[in-house]
Amino acid sequence: MLETVKLSKVFKEKKAVDEINLYLGKGESVGLLGPNGAGKSTTISMISSLIKPTSGDVKLEGKSTIKDPSEIRKVLGVVPQEIALYEELSAYENLKFFGKIYQVEKGKLEERIQEMLELVGLKDRQKHLVKTFSGGMKRRINIAAAMMHRPKVLILDEPTVGIDPQSRNHILQTVRKLNEEQGTTILYTSHYMEEVEHLCDRVYIMDHGKVVASGTKSELLSILSSEDRIQIHVSRKSPELIGKIQHMEHVRRLDETNDGIHIIVKKGRNILSELVHAAEKEGVQIINYQVEIPSLEDVFLHLTGKTLRD
């Protein structure tokens, strides 16, 4: 339905997006993951026609949208990171204004406003000014405004940043409902891996303007199929013990965490006896030993060398 072909954007000699190829099938829910500065927002701005790409193309149903973006704008709903609403207007007035400029039929406008308010759970607060809303409520209205014209594709750019868990859950439920019940195609960017895992069928992982990996959750997790991840908790910190673990034959990587040591080893290699032996020598007690099931966060760490919050 929607795809980008070698899409690039250069800002003053700095490549913000570097020849990325994305594909969104009809009714799919696709995640776009990446740390700050990875190029996610620039990619979204190019897809939604707000900025022109330096090179490459954005295609809707196989047709380029670069020269004439009016068609893609009709089918696209964009929820920006910012609260793109008039704070001095009520929720109802905001939706009415955006509905009108999106040319929602006059006779159906009222019905659509109420439908959207119902969807985001703010029907009882519709007459209240947006500036009196909590961050979470504003973000819900932000989504409703983008949905007024019944877009086929909804792009959400980190829609849960800085809000309480209750509002976050509400937003996730709303997005899921839009995707599953109304068949809206979703492109969802987030810092929160669990959101993407929960919502998306497929995931693109971006870093330094490039797509470093893509696929379904299981496909991405298979990247880590050659590794086991072990978390140990110790009685005290010991640089000497860390040095010894790092030099163990099957250890690929080691990270100190707040409550212990995170170790990545070759698949199927048991290093427990070696660890116990080394700890004994250094006078350190191993309190807990746990082999972890890998998550997308681990895949991300593996691919980019950093966590999503970096």
């Binding site: 939604s48 026609s49 707000l50 609403l85 207007l89 204004f97 405004a145």
Partner: protein, 420 residues
């Protein structure tokens, strides 16, 4: 376009701080300025004070003797000769003039001192005297001969001053009134109705009175200046709201709706027009109600004022359109807001909204007359005095031209895709 217009009005209306500023600031400023300056301009006697020299070269006793000889040589009956002489002695031209200036009412704003011609010249040169009046030698004889015997007269009272001024006009007016009174007395005397109680009519000091021309007052000046300036600030306020729309990405959402830029721009222009118009109407209405700044004005005046306010509001709307385009084009939004404030302040200063431009260089005055507030101010001040609707045709056209020009530039500079 209607949606944008309604939205802009609603957003402005909900901003209580802006509403209070827009509605009450001009009214409060005008009332304060009027109160502060009323002591300075309310007293007519204080507004003009004239120092006048009186050079009396004429000797009225000698003049009467010369006139008596002339009468004696006439071939008329002795009774008639006696009647003419009695009447001539009653008039006492020089005494009347000096007495006229000593009148307490006139003495409030005219100080007269008798000086010699040489002293008078020197004092005028040193600007210690505003002017001097010379009553030439033989004046009494000439005036009496002309008035009572019908002789030709080429002699008159002359006024000498360094340069033309309001004060000089007032003195001319005084002398003119005086001569009319003398002539009237002589005419009445010839008809046998001379009455000692006939007094010259005193002109009003403090105002330059011209036939069929009213003067404008400082409260009127403040009302025009402050109301135009505050209306200009509406253009700036609306543009700053555009900056907020841009910063908070609402404008991006508007772009994504496929709305034509012209609709967005016209929403700003129309809402600015309405707000500026309402603001000015309220200001003039309230100020008229509270201070009665335009007393006894005709329907023509109010029609002219309505037209000027409407076209000026349109010019402000055009400026707002231009500001909106600039706000969307400039990346540094803080700079944009600063630029708009500077432009409005510059218009205010050049257009004479802060202070009258009369003291400033000619070039600045000419530039100021091309600013929308300058055009409005000049036109309204002239209109207050003459109340001729045809005088407003050019200013109204200039304001319309300003609006069209701003709108064209705004449309051409409205950022294309990818530049916002």
């Amino acid at each position: 376009m209607n949606s944008f217009f309604k939205k802009d009005l609603l957003v402005f209306w909900r901003d209580r701080k802006e509403i209070l500023l827009a509605v009450f600031l001009p009214i409060i400023l005008i009332v304060i300025l009027n109160t502060a300056f009323s002591g300075m301009f309310s007293s007519d006697a204080e507004s003009i004070h004239i120092n006048l020299g009186l050079v009396l070269e004429d000797d009225d006793t000698a003049g009467l003797e010369q006139f008596a000889k002339k009468v004696e040589s006439l071939e008329i009956a002795p009774d008639e000769k006696q009647r003419i002489m009695e009447q001539a002695m009653q008039i006492g031209v020089n005494q009347q003039l000096t007495g006229f200036f000593k009148n307490p009412e006139l003495a409030e704003w005219v100080t007269v001192q008798e000086v010699t011609k040489e002293e008078a010249r020197k004092l005028v040169e040193m600007e210690e005297l505003d002017a001097y009046i010379k009553i030439p030698n033989g004046f009494t004889n000439t005036v009496l001969s002309a008035a009572m015997l019908g002789n030709e007269s080429k002699m008159g009272v002359t006024i000498h001053a360094k340069e033309q001024s309001t004060e000089l006009s007032a003195i001319e007016d005084v002398i003119h009134q005086f001569m009319n009174t003398i002539n009237m007395q002589l005419a009445l005397g010839q008809m046998g109705e001379l009455n000692q109680s006939t007094q010259p009519v005193l002109p009003q000091g403090g105002k330059e009175l011209v036939d069929d021309v009213d003067s404008y007052t400082f409260p009127q000046y403040f009302t025009i200046g402050i109301s135009t300036l505050c209306a200009l600030f509406i253009a700036q306020t609306i543009a700053v709201k555009t900056i907020t729309e841009k910063r908070e990405r609402v404008f991006n959402r508007i772009i994504l709706s496929n709305s034509p830029p012209f609709h967005y721009l016209m929403g700003k222009v129309l809402s600015t027009f309405c707000l500026a118009w309402i603001q000015m109407m309220l200001t003039y209405g309230m100020i008229q109600l509270v201070l009665d700044v335009f007393p006894d004005k005709s329907a023509t005046f109010w029609i002219g004022l309505f037209l000027m306010i409407t076209l000026f509001s349109l010019a402000v709307a055009g400026l707002s359109g231009l500001f909106t385009s600039i706000a969307l084009s400039i990346k540094d939004t803080n700079s944009a807001a600063g630029i708009f404030t500077m432009v409005v302040m510059m218009f205010g200063a050049l257009g004479g909204s802060f202070f009258p431009l009369q003291g400033l260089p000619e070039v600045i005055q000419r530039i100021g007359e091309w600013t929308p507030n300058g055009v409005t101010q000049t036109a309204l001040i002239q209109f207050i005095q003459y109340e001729k609707l045809q005088d407003l045709v050019i200013p109204l056209s200039l304001l319309l031209g300003f609006f069209v020009l701003c709108l064209i530039i705004a449309l051409f500079t409205f950022p294309r895709r990818g530049r916002i």
